[in-house]
Symmetry: C2
Subunit: 150 residues, 2 copies
């Protein structure tokens, strides 16, 4: 966890669930899960993580900031690609360990070049091995957009 | 991880991102994150976790099954409350460590009595402490519905 955080530590279950104070319950890794949905379509665009600093920056600026577990670094969505997320609404869940943001997505949210990271459907009603169904075409060429960032 | 799983182990990044095989990348805890959205409204109802068995059961039955980290147990959503989730669509994300299900939710998804776990909004554009805004009324009395389950 960062040394400086604007958030008070989480209290009791009742405080977390019924309280009006934002007291995020960061995991042992210092992170909460964040789900970003498309404000227009309702589609889930991506699932990522925020540490206290990323959450505070997102709240203060209305632009989505995340924490990359693989790179161990804070990042603003779109800082490399230009594919920023303007946050229209933010919600916190009952036990304050997950955040939902509705965003206006510029370009594509996924580093693979798709609008959403969830570009493959899983057919239902079957047991055993599953063959995925591709639902979305690429909307940009990731090789042309990225040089190591997101 | 359970001993029996219908899923092959994850391959290379290219296999995970571009492949048509569902090879979920379970974490060290044996879980993937699952986001459930309301098929009608697009609202995020809850964020929870699935182990291989929960994921396989959800795919086979079209009813949402999860794995409770706090109780260390597989559970079918609604098994106590009757507030089941019929899965209309399932998607997997680029690196296959997160699942998105669109569901028809009976009753409320949240154990607090709300339709969605995300019943409080976080106002944007401010630095410092944050006061949450309650957006949804309870739709059921959790004390009357639950006797220890979800």
């Amino acid at each position: 966890m960062p040394d400086k955080t604007p958030f008070a530590p989480p209290g009791t279950v009742a405080d977390l669930e019924e309280g009006a104070a934002l007291t995020p319950k960061f995991g042992a890794d210092g992170l909460v899960t964040c789900v970003a949905t498309d404000a227009a379509s309702g589609d889930v665009l991506m699932v990522a993580h925020m540490n206290a600093e990323a959450l505070a920056k997102t709240i203060a600026t209305g632009q989505a900031w995340y924490y990359s577990r693989s790179r161990g670094a804070l990042w603003q969505k779109g800082q490399t690609s230009g594919h920023t997320q303007h946050v229209v609404e933010m919600h916190i869940d009952c036990d304050q360990d997950a955040v939902w943001i509705k965003v206006e997505q510029t370009g594509g949210a996924c580093h693979t070049g798709h609008r959403s990271c969830f570009y493959r459907a899983v057919p239902l009603g079957k047991a055993g091995a599953v063959t995925l169904e591709f639902r979305d075409e690429r909307i940009f060429d990731p090789r042309a957009v990225y040089r190591g960032g997101n």
